[in-house]
Symmetry: C2
Subunit: 492 residues, 2 copies
């Protein structure tokens, strides 16, 4: 693990000055809020990227106002501040890469459902699964569902604009955020939007904050829009001869104006992984074939119509299809989907987990190209994802100890990013940039776009103290030292 | 009408220099693109606010690239550039208040529907009604529907984040914009987002542009998300003893998890206006009573369930209710809704048309307060609006020639804005700030919020050339001279 001092960018600040600033902060906020013990510093030094840099202190506020105090001092004397929630991000967005202070928001975690207005009033540290449960308890539904939802915080979800399986029909985190409260990097309290669906008063800094990975402000509170909880769900598993057929079929489904709540694709490699890991055949009689898992959601009446359309589509397009007869059987299918990611470690001990997007019209081209990439790189590249929003998880597997595989993986990921941009897609659909995708940001954005983003950053954070070193500074993440850690949300 | 020269803010530029810059621009782009004839200058001098300032030229590009050329030169020598579409905004957002050049985007108006992906690829000058029609022709639905939709452009809708009646269930323009192309104020071409639903690569300047009223960039192209066209609609008219009962009933409807596509409220004053104008009783047997017009949309099966819930609600909460038996009858009801705004000119020859929002929980309080404001001001203040998103149109009517009424209107609008902010609402839900709401922006936003917005403006438009003089500079709009003009989209 590197020490903060090694990469510290503020040339006019010595370690001694930082230590004295930390002491001053501790006197202001108290020893229960400003933590400097080894265990706290260690725990805050990395996120799920496992890239680690030790901070000088962890600040864990118990009251919103403490964040203003912290940021005002950090801004005055130039201490880097890295906000974090549970740290489930795979991109390194929560790593305090330039040391300084980590602002841990887990202590601010209230959830209040307004059952009449269909709104959730939450604090940044609130758990996403708990918000969903609280909403469901009142007949409401909060759709965004990153796979780490039982662990991650809404603050992190908003900062990274988290997605999940429901994106195609319902949208992502951004689509459910009505209002935010928080602090500018300079420590001033701000509110973006009101607890009403419409707001057209001034520039929209709410949505600028969403997805800015904690670099433009610290989110403390959010108002989330909820939708009525669907009364019923229906699950269909379909299998296909190959990936190109599966993608072609997906296009036909959407062209038929069907909007499944979930439409998950697993290629043959993902299916085979899951089948080996679970010692079962996902689709009896169709082992090792690519599948699409469809879930419809809505009122019973709504589903009756939609089911017919989906079954007709399956008859015409799929090699096989099987309806889940009970909710328990549907859950088994979803368990397979969740397992496949972890099961991939049979194919390598390291994974470059990408979350690119491809426009619908380019699906088959992409499938053909990806098969060529497998052949050329000699690597296993199991792929699964959310077909309704073009968001595919391409998993480049390799063995860390095999230098040739490392080089091949590095080459493959660059080729992948170039390809998706050439097809009109995005280098990230839901994970963000953080540290891990910094080598590719300039494939997506031209110089004017990068310049505009950096100008906005400088305008809101003139001293560059908030989550510095992310997004714009290129980190060759595959060369960065990693800690060995296991997380409850690992897909293993 | 004031001349541009009078309010010109660039102190180092004389009229002569502006004239020579205009000539240079004309040589570059041609006399068909750079217009300086009287009729063109006159037409581009005002929008629906009727506040007018004559520009030095109107630039009407026929190719996207011409906008880059224009902005590069304007930025270099400091000429104000005011982008505009059809100019239906009531807020003055499209008035070239500091003269210079008007950039008229009406010539870029292509529409292409991708029927498979459910996306509309459009240029800024495309008409919103035409986009809806093109989508509907392919079985898709574009929900945002400002009342001027048969006239206004999508570029203007995006720049102002236009709303409409469908906001509660479906959202506003912002919720349907997937990607944008256009130019930074400095003339560089940029793209924000891709034609895929998910995008998490870099800061979100797409949503920063949306609703920025043409002050942060010029939008040339957009990709819009469409949803499947609802197969059926069902309309119910309900009447109530008074406004407080109507608002209370609306809360009960939403608490029952019903999501009508449209839920329009007309207070007794709006109803009486419309009844006098149309010489009919809107709800036979219930003349002059506040009404709520509900429209459900969805599949036939979906509607069957929802109808039951709405009828049960009406039985329990409304003084009377009446189902539209045919689509033609439903259209008649919607015609009443559209007429009421124009009919208000019986009560005064001038109107301050506000579009505030109020959180659901404050509906009854607001109704009581508004009745007190009527009594105190002595003015007619008919109010209608979109109950599902808290967006109410409060129309303060007065007679221009009666000084006492002018003063009372000015006082009433300030009191209104203070009240909605105190209730946790917004000073604008869908019209934006432009010139007309500038006196109230600081009621909504604290100094840090305004400072952050201005810092962002300065970062992207360092010379302040793009749509200058809007939003942040306070204009006492009721004192501004107006032109006499009538528009096809006037509610008269």
């Amino acid at each position: 693990m590197r020490d903060a001092g090694e990469t510290f960018i503020f040339p006019d600040m010595t370690k001694k000055q930082l230590a004295s600033a930390t002491l001053a902060m501790r006197r202001k906020l108290g020893a229960r809020v400003v933590l400097t013990d080894d265990a706290s510093l260690e725990a805050a030094s990395f996120d799920s990227s496992r890239i680690a840099v030790r901070p000088a202190a962890v600040i864990r506020p118990t009251k919103r106002e403490q964040i203003g105090v912290l940021l005002k001092m950090a801004n005055k004397i130039g201490v880097p501040v890295t906000p974090r929630g549970r740290g489930t991000t795979l991109m390194g967005s929560a790593v305090p890469i330039q040391g300084g202070w980590v602002l841990d928001l887990m202590g601010l975690d209230t959830i209040r459902i307004d059952p009449e207005a269909g709104l959730a009033h939450v604090q940044a540290g609130a758990n996403v699964g708990a918000i969903q449960d609280a909403a469901a308890g009142q007949g409401w539904f909060y759709p965004p569902d990153p796979s780490s939802k039982q662990y991650c915080t809404i603050g992190g979800n908003i900062a990274c604009n988290a997605g999940g399986m429901h994106g195609g029909k319902y949208g992502v985190t951004r689509d459910f955020v009505v209002a935010l409260k928080g602090y500018l990097p300079t420590g001033e309290f701000v509110e973006w939007g009101t607890a009403t669906r419409k707001f057209a008063a001034g520039f929209n800094l709410r949505d600028l904050w969403i997805g800015s990975e904690g670099m433009l402000g610290v989110i403390t509170d959010a108002v989330l829009r909820l939708i009525p909880q669907p009364a019923a769900r229906w699950t269909l598993l379909t299998s296909f001869a190959d990936e190109v057929s599966a993608f072609r079929a997906a296009r036909a489904l959407f062209a038929a104006r069907v909007q499944p709540a979930i439409c998950e694709f697993l290629d043959r490699y993902s299916v085979q992984c899951a089948e080996q890991a679970m010692k079962t055949t996902i689709f009896p009689g169709q082992p090792g074939r690519p599948v699409i898992l469809i879930e419809l959601a809505g009122s019973e009446a709504e589903l009756a119509d939609a089911k017919k359309a989906v079954l007709a589509w399956a008859e015409a397009n799929a090699a096989g299809h099987r309806e889940a007869q009970t909710r328990a059987e549907a859950e088994t299918l979803w368990a397979v989907r969740r397992k496949c990611s972890g099961a991939m470690f049979q194919m390598g001990d390291a994974k470059l987990n990408e979350d690119i997007t491809v426009p619908l019209g380019a699906y088959e081209d992409f499938a053909v190209w990806l098969e060529q990439l497998r052949a050329k790189s000699g690597l296993a590249i199991p792929t699964f994802g959310h077909l309704a929003d073009g968001n595919l998880h391409v998993n480049i597997m390799y063995h860390k100890a095999v230098a040739k595989e490392c080089r091949a993986a590095e080459k493959a990921v660059l080729a992948l990013m170039k390809k998706v941009v050439a097809l009109g897609g995005a280098i990230s659909g839901e994970h963000g940039i953080g540290l891990a995708k910094t080598p590719f940001l300039r494939l997506q954005h031209n110089a004017a776009q990068i310049g505009a983003m950096q100008a906005v950053k400088h305008a809101l954070d003139p001293k560059g103290i908030l989550n510095p070193g992310k997004m714009f500074e290129v980190v060759e993440v595959w060369k960065a030292p990693r800690v060995v850690a296991s997380f409850p949300w690992d897909h293993k």
